[in-house]
Symmetry: C4
Subunit: 393 residues, 4 copies
């Protein structure tokens, strides 16, 4: 679609240049500003679904606090005129260590939903990971992302035949990896959604990958187009999988030749066990604080998990990333890349594809400039020496 | 009255299902929301009596902060399709490790007071503990709770005859244990009540167990029905017992064959001494922060007290429990069960029996789901390995 | 004037009793409430003078935070039916370990100023310490305080003759001790007063002890009654004494047989040096955060200073005391007694003598009850075993 | 212009004296008050440019929090009637350890900009450091500052000829030192400016030292007076210098005989390396939190950097200084002097030269009085013994 704008750090000058013509950015320039604007525009139910977390949302706050417990020590005169933000995850080369993480049912915040996200990712050349609970089929999203890396996220359903079908389709559509989310095998307690009595899937939103799936369809008495309620009921019976075991994960591992990452890992022992089963990458995540209220911050668990697995296994960090310095801190603590979610979802909510692109470009510009200001010209130079603990942390 | 809804974790789907018909939960879904709504509906005096604490309410805040100093480390793939929340306290089997703790004089927040609470507990099959300062007699409450475990709480009065009479009645009514509260032998300094010059007992509220007591009545020149003021005065002379000694506790111990728990313990030495006297269980409690401003958080003292007593003596945790993850943390730190109070009182204030039931079901659903999300299928799997200290704690 | 009401802890029942007649306390029951009400009633200048501190008022906040870093561990069944709050400081027996500390120029908050305070102290039998910067002469205050211990506070002026005269008058008026304040030998930087360009002494307020002093008067060309400006100028030249030395303190020590306490000590070495000079008692104080912005909290320095001086030398704690549990914590950390200031000044501002009495009675009731709730029946039982550090402190 | 008012501590009495005539200070007396007033008066763009920081402004908050982690322990009876605030930095004697730090493009907050600042510095005799990104030429500022020490700050441009020309002019104008800023070799990510699409330099503000530079002018096809856009473009190509190396710093070192300080150092190794190259002084700075979001607080790095360099190399502290006690803390931690910025810029914004003078005089009075209150009569007495860590820090 377009040539990726490199280096990212020039983006700010584009904005300043527009300012000379009297043009201001259409979107707020901070996460809090984006979220506040999104709150004003979205329905309470849709806003709450994205913004909310489990229980008292202590884990959401913990995720942010974890970043504040590390401080960067900038170095001077690093000869940083040219910066290289590329990284590699499971044979996928990324032009920046930032992946648009999987978020389900984006139709509730914008009519173009996941397609707008995919197009923005493609414009920027950044990697994205489609949720299997998307409002759009993985095939349509693949078509919209010809020029950027693309992964597929899977909540393993309790029906192995459906699972295998979803995996096969992800392979066929040219995804470069599958990300298996382990932390959401049942629905958590989210007071904001409970208060709205709102679960979009029960309204038929976010189940496109199921209703388009031949195996899933074969189990329905009537096709979803004719009897949507039947499809919803079948989905509701197929999705929850709390009884899933490590053996089931091993089975899944054997069913695809694609790199397989597991997402939701918070304990080093779980990371080790996954690697023993042949898992190719780990995403340290507490699902943005949406599953277990009061659980550990993702970032706090990152170093121990990096230590627990072989250096050849990439560890990614998800949950709480908001700024360029957050990304730097995660990299310095051993992450190969990070996943972001709410920031780009608010961009989507406010301005569709353009909004996603602007939010992500801003984050990448911030990252690129912060890297330079720290005296580094590539991610390989970013390690623990760049950090000190915040006093009292 | 009804079959207890098990597993509790399906409750959220009930709510989502109702949402399809346009129905939203009648009550706020967070503790802060409940309290705010209750504040709007209740008189300042009644609201302040329940919501308030001693002095500057530092202990109330400490209770909450104590939970934030522990973080759960969820484990993946625990095969948690079936969960078992049962626990046992002094030969009482509980279907969940949550007891509706004793709260006096509930008539001030709802006309059905303790009866509504008892009926809700009975509906859910959860255990409850009636305050001896209730607005309703223990006999009436017993009738309302045929199908759920029931305990009786006692503030030992300074008159041993009255004490013995109350204990005998508790036994006769089929209570399964007596909980002796030691931390309120005189009235504390509660600025909110002082500001309202409000003590409901002086208005004749919350002394039903006294005015119905044959021994207490025998000491009155006129029956309470004819001379309520006389009864109030007699109660005011009988209730305070700051001179109570450990010998008095031993005497009480000898007066009943029921399991005897002591509530208000905060120091391991006091727990040890109680066990030496033959006490059967310990409730670690600072009375919800209502007694000594600036005292330790209950949860912070829990581990040392668990360590101080034999494993056969159950230790329960009271004060500050608001969410499912709070319960999990208390269990992980050694509590056999927890007591809750303000959450269900706000439910009572807002919607009577239905309100109590909805608040408690929500808490149990949250607990059940959080347990599953942590990778555990029974409380026996919940131990200290599930926790890490929050950084800086 | 009246029989001191003992034990203090019954005061709350007096309030509840009045509530039965529909009467609510005239004053707010919390410090924040008192201060807020005072802010509404006083001029900005007078309010700011009392409420404000040095610089950014970090020390004021530090004083409060210091109390929060200690937590009380209540003990059960201490047989606390009778409590004894008495303590002894330099041969003065106090009926409670709370002294109304010296506050200058109280005429700016209430027309009866220091006299109202003295009368309230006398009603309650509590000790008070008159500021030498009072709006009223020490002789008038002595007359108003026949039945309660009374001390005199001195800012040593730079004129030794005036100093000796003030000391001699304090002796003659029957004061039981002199408290020499060392931390205010020049005026600090207080932004609230600067913003109002307000220093009440330059308006002739708060210099009554000077204008009534025969030696001071002898140095004036005209008597203050005829030429107030001349007296103010002379005061302004006599008061500042930043060049004061330890030798000067030794000289002062030699000039009186009364017990001499020094106030403003924050370093153990300064405490030791004072004791070596024959000082009889130490008041650990940062002047309520009014002198050096960012200085240590008084309470944080208390234990080291208690350790630094012989057990025979009483150490008192000033700055930040608001509640009964604050007093208990200070006693547990080694203080013989505490000084309070802003709480009673707000009481004075709002309701004169009655206001002072009500605020102080409330604090003493809170203290008495908190002592009982902690399982102690006298201050001798209050020691470090009653405290644990707040986690993270 | 005037005799420097010494000692500074009498300034408050000047204010109190004016109060007797009904006059209140024209400016707020706290930093927060100044900033709030400035926010009301300035355009959003100009206010945001000065007030804002990088990213989420975590570093700005860290700078302030760092001061709160140290507490002063005042000493009594230090005989502090006369205080000496002088210090020496690279052979420049300063009458106080406070330098008006370099801030670019002050024309955006006040029409007299840097000239007003220079005149105020001259009135007070305090040192100032002109930004090379000033709205006024260094020659004009030199003329306005005949009686006070003056330094010149340099962002080394990527054109060595322009660099040498700027240095030569700074020498010719009688500057006593050059301060080379290393932390801004490219523009950082500042959301407030991005939100306004505002970079004043692109509007031709703040490039006076370039447009007046003969070498810079020689590279323009047309003089700036005729073609301002051309000059702006040339400046935009000359200013960014992210590829600058330590060798380039060595070259700069060889080009001037003036003392050379480097500003922006945060790591001890960078300080050491600078000293090895012959740099004469270190300014520990994170540019007021304007460069790398989440970077260390300047004050937190100060002690390690003081330790890293020889005692003969002065270390100055920049970023976050607001009050006299802040200055004392920095001195106690090893700083020879501090730089201030936003405080005087708000003074400038609100009242031009008078505003700068009033803000700086207030800060110096606060410092002088706080020094006295701590028992010290000269900066030589201020060392680490004056500090204790704040509990929990």
């Amino acid at each position: 679609m377009s040539t990726p704008p490199l280096p990212f750090g020039i983006y700010q000058f584009e904005v300043y240049g527009r300012g000379l013509g009297g043009e201001r950015p259409a979107l707020p320039t901070t996460f809090d500003g984006l979220q506040e604007r999104a709150r004003e525009q979205l329905s309470d139910a849709a806003y709450g679904y994205v913004a909310g977390g489990a229980g008292e949302e202590r884990t959401m706050r913990a995720n942010r606090a974890a970043f504040d417990r590390h401080r960067l020590v900038p170095r001077m005169l690093g000869e940083v005129g040219q910066r290289d933000l590329t990284t590699t995850v499971c044979d996928t080369t990324l032009n920046a260590p930032v992946v648009l993480g999987p978020v389900g049912v984006l139709s509730i915040v914008h009519p173009e939903g996941e397609l707008a996200v995919a197009r923005a990712a493609n414009e920027l050349g950044v990697a994205s990971c489609l949720s299997n609970a998307a409002s759009t089929t993985l095939e349509d999203v693949a078509t919209a992302t010809p020029d950027a890396p693309r992964w597929f996220q899977l909540y393993p359903p309790n029906d192995p035949e459906v699972r295998r079908s979803l995996v096969a389709r992800a392979e066929a559509a040219g995804n470069e990896a599958i990300v298996v989310t382990l932390d959401t095998l049942t629905m958590p307690w989210r007071p904001r959604d409970i208060a709205q009595a709102y679960l979009p899937f029960l309204l038929g939103e976010g189940i496109a990958n199921y209703t388009a799936d031949p195996v899933f369809r074969s189990k329905l008495a009537e096709p979803p187009e004719e009897s949507p309620q039947l499809a919803i009921q079948q989905w509701a019976q197929t999705f929850p999988n709390p009884q899933m075991s490590w053996d089931d994960l091993a089975a899944l591992r054997s069913e695809t030749g694609l790199p397989l990452l597991v997402k939701g890992i918070l304990h080093p022992d779980d990371a080790r066990r996954a690697v023993e089963l042949g898992i190719d990458g780990i995403v340290v995540s507490n699902h943005g604080g949406r599953q277990v209220d009061g659980s550990v911050a993702s970032l706090d668990q990152l170093p121990a998990i990096v230590d627990a697995v072989p250096a050849s296994v990439p560890v990614l960090l998800d949950s709480g990333v908001r700024t360029g310095s957050d990304v730097l801190k995660a990299i310095a603590l051993g992450a190969r890349a990070v996943l972001i979610a709410r920031p780009y979802v608010w961009g989507l909510a406010l301005a569709g594809q353009d909004g996603v692109r602007e939010v992500v470009r801003s984050l990448l510009a911030d990252l690129d400039l912060s890297l330079a200001m720290c005296g580094c010209s590539s991610l390989a130079q970013v390690d623990g020496d760049l950090l000190v603990p915040a006093p009292g942390a």
